[in-house]
């Protein structure tokens, strides 16, 4: 895993030139991304819907990478924060008539709060016990959502949610739905980029690289793990809220640990410790799922095989591999 280095060399003219070159490349990349996203709805309803799903899960995966790739915490319960936000949007909309926009904000806050509570307990342990604890807490929420049918609709779920409007146009419009999701994605992407380059981000990286050294340097590591956990939960909540707006439906499936497992696969496939990697992983995973399951009912087998090959031969993920090649071909 290569760590983005914030203390760039800026003293010599040559390095100033490469810095400027890097800035231009970045700007171009952003423009291309925005252009693609702006034009995507032209490709038809199916592609737009799929693209929205990809972006939503990209947010989910990127938020998880804040834990796996940046703080070194392997959580198996991330679906909890995704699902809680989705439920918040739908429940508040159905029972109190609250607009989806308000629900989205509330959902993010609730996700962050749940993450803070779960994180407070989970970070007392590490490794496998941490994995099991996060999974256990998420499963508890899952069980709750199934039992508490009156509120959550159980396995049948809650439908009938009214999507809000944006500038007078209802989000029932596929294209508008997509643009909302796309904006959410860009926001999360931008936030993560700034976070990783910031003092707080460097602390997360430090904890991943050498926790003992961070303590010896004076950082209260446990506090920062909790901050990372809460932030990751809040970002997952953005994804969950957008999921609710997109689908106008939620069921207890959204809290199942298999969703947490899917997120882990996306992160690893794409590349941990890179901001864009998990988004790529989400795209690859969902596209694969769509393609494979239209040809065979045994798509788990193929996902498994590809995942195994990735872990064995491409541990840095697809994006990590691309970046390495990139770095190798430049002077």
């Amino acid at each position: 895993m290569t760590a983005p280095d914030a203390t760039g060399a800026a003293s010599t003219a040559a390095s100033a030139a490469t810095a400027a070159g890097a800035r231009i490349r970045r700007a171009v990349a952003w423009l291309v991304l925005i252009a693609v996203l702006a034009l995507l709805p032209l490709s038809g309803s199916y592609a737009t819907g799929l693209a929205a799903e990809v972006l939503i899960f990209a947010i989910f995966a990127m938020s998880l990478d804040l834990l796996i790739g940046y703080t070194g915490l392997l959580s198996f319960g991330h679906a909890a924060f995704f699902g809680v936000a989705a439920y918040a949007v739908v429940i508040l909309g159905l029972n109190f008539g609250w607009s989806g926009w308000v629900g989205l904000l509330v959902g993010i806050v609730v996700s962050a709060a749940v993450a803070a509570v779960i994180g407070f307990f989970a970070i007392r342990v590490s490794g496998i016990p941490f994995l099991m604890l996060t999974m256990a807490f998420a499963q508890l929420l899952f069980s709750l959502s199934i039992k508490w049918r009156t509120v959550t609709g159980g396995t049948d779920g809650l439908s009938g949610f009214q999507r809000p409007t944006l500038f007078g146009i209802s989000l029932d419009n596929r294209a508008v739905q997509f643009y909302v999701v796309a904006v959410g994605f860009l926001f999360v992407l931008l936030f993560l980029r700034r976070l990783i380059a910031s003092p707080l981000g460097s602390i997360f990286i430090g904890i991943r690289e050498n926790e003992q050294r961070m303590r010896a340097a004076g950082y209260p590591v446990q506090r920062f793990k909790l901050v990372a956990f809460t932030l990751a939960g809040a970002l997952a909540g953005v994804g969950g809220g957008l999921y609710a707006l997109q689908n106008a439906y939620v069921s207890s499936d959204i809290l199942h640990w298999s969703l947490s497992g899917d997120a882990i696969i996306m992160v690893i496939l794409g590349g941990t410790g890179t901001i864009v990697g998990p988004a790529i992983g989400a795209a690859v995973f969902l596209l694969l799922k769509n393609v494979v399951s239209s040809h065979t009912e045994y798509w788990l087998l193929w996902v498994g095989i590809i995942f195994i090959l990735c872990v064995m031969f491409l541990p840095q993920g697809i994006w990590g591999w691309v970046r390495q090649r990139w770095a190798g071909t430049r002077a």
Binding site: A6, G8, S198, P199, L200, S202, I203, N210, Y219
Partner: protein, 247 residues
């Protein structure tokens, strides 16, 4: 009042006693060397001072303040800086980034999440100052893993200094170094701020007798002798323990 004081420190793992009733003091401006054969418990002692290990009984006092139950990060904030026997750095990060992270711990602004670390010019300038102090001036943007062993040892000290410590714990700073590198390290230690209290574990007797104001000899976890270098050199017990190694 001494800067650092150990009061009847004991540490046992089951039946294995690594620290036995150790009293030790380091004063401001003093370089206190800790010597003893392998397995004498020197590093374990430093772990107990810095907080990586909890003693079974006894106290660790910083300016007479009891820090025995404090976590490593708190002890660092209170003024204890340390190097590790085996290089304990952020290997994948650059040299500058290593020091910047350590300096940032004292600077604050931990929770800023939207400002780029590259924009803090003052901090970056300080990074280079600290690195200059430990005689590291080249290839500062290369990952630590690409540094030579000796350079990594220097970086260890840089990280410790970045914490602006009052007490500096050096664990075998010259281990694995060539004679030239060792001389360089000795110069470095001599150039450290005068008001630091330094506790230094060392095996190289040349280094010890050149630099130390006080020497404590540890043997099987116990203090065998403690005092001025000349007294230690002439101490018969110490000579027998260090047969062939002393002067």
């Amino acid at each position: 009042m001494s800067l650092l004081r150990l009061d009847a420190l004991n540490k046992a793992f089951g039946n294995l006693v690594v620290t036995k009733n150790v009293d030790l003091a380091v004063n401001e401006g003093e370089l206190h060397a800790l010597i003893g054969p392998n397995g004498a418990g020197k590093t374990s002692l430093v772990h107990q001072i810095a907080g990586q290990l909890q003693p079974s009984s006894g106290r660790v006092l910083l300016r007479e303040r009891d820090i025995t139950n404090e976590r490593p990060e708190v002890r660092c904030q209170l003024g204890i800086g340390r190097t590790f026997q085996k290089n304990n750095l952020f290997r994948a990060l650059s040299v500058r980034e290593n020091v910047r992270i350590a300096l940032q711990a004292k600077r604050g602004g931990w929770f800023e999440c939207l400002r780029s670390t590259a924009s803090d010019r003052a901090l970056l300038a300080e990074v280079d100052e600290v690195l200059a102090q430990v005689r590291l001036t080249e290839r500062l943007d290369r990952p630590v893993a690409s540094l030579s062993y000796g350079e990594q040892r220097q970086l260890e000290i840089a990280l410790a200094l970045a914490s602006k410590p009052a007490v500096l714990l050096l664990d075998e700073p010259t281990s694995g170094m060539s004679p030239a590198e060792t001389d360089g390290m000795m110069d470095l230690v001599r150039s450290l701020p005068r008001n630091l209290g330094i506790l230094m574990i060392e095996h190289d007797m040349n280094v010890v007798f050149s630099l130390a104001h006080t020497i404590t000899v540890l043997y099987y976890g116990e203090v065998l002798a403690s005092g001025a270098p000349a007294a230690i050199r002439d101490n018969p017990q110490v000579r027998s323990v260090y047969l062939g190694l002393g002067r």
